[in-house]
Subunit: 125 residues, 2 copies
Amino acid sequence: MTLSNMDFPTPSKDADCRVVREILDRIADKWSLYIFVALRDGPVRFNELRRQIDGISQRMLTITLRQLERDGLISRTLFPTIPPRVDYELTAVGRTLLAPVMALVIWADSNRDVIEEARQRYDAS
Amino acid sequence: MTLSNMDFPTPSKDADCRVVREILDRIADKWSLYIFVALRDGPVRFNELRRQIDGISQRMLTITLRQLERDGLISRTLFPTIPPRVDYELTAVGRTLLAPVMALVIWADSNRDVIEEARQRYDAS
DNA sequence: AGTGTTGGTCACAAATTGATACCACCCTAT
DNA sequence: ATAGGGTGGTATCAATTTGTGACCAACACT
């Protein structure tokens, strides 16, 4: 009970907490992070995203992009050419999320050796 | 091709890239983030974690804690009392990850209204 | 005429996660 | 004495999520 009211910053209401959870679950899902990284330098088309994000299926790319669009973090622009062209781009709000996301990516990159060693130690014992 | 070599910071080798992906996948999975937040003020026992992290199953808590322990981000201390007591705590490395993680949490908290509105706009159209 | 590109959707299979039961051990209240 | 609860798990099976491959229309290139 001592910490249950302090789990998250200013959880004045349960509803707020639930929304924060929903947002974090979206950011921290399997693919959103990589979409953010791929979009950090400007608009990218659908199939270019698919090529950049290794292992993502067309299905999950579509679904994840739709969810991020719904949250107002990325925008979708359809150019009705033949063949069609669809650009995805970070919105102003989305760009403010880029700093924390890149901080995570940079942390992961800086600590890969440390973590690799920890894994080998754990697996050896 | 222009960006494929710059997807992540200093991706000097494919192997490095793969490790960074593995680390990010661990951090950004469904529960790790919340375990980090719960452990930010010091050691917490297993069942206290379970109570703090709403919705997590005992199974996923065990599995996620093991993975984080394997990566050297948290430590597990067993006190052989009756009933047994197991403390989980962030390691020194784990604590360095706390800053980027909390930046994400704070971002999510600060932007919940903006995102809620974006969702309503999207769902209405 | 065949092959490839675009950005999707759909149905089904595979992988991941959740729910429930169970375990040994003790403490407390009845 | 016995029923119920807490400790930190594991095992099994169901439910949910994700991946796989096929298919689409409209064109360009060969």
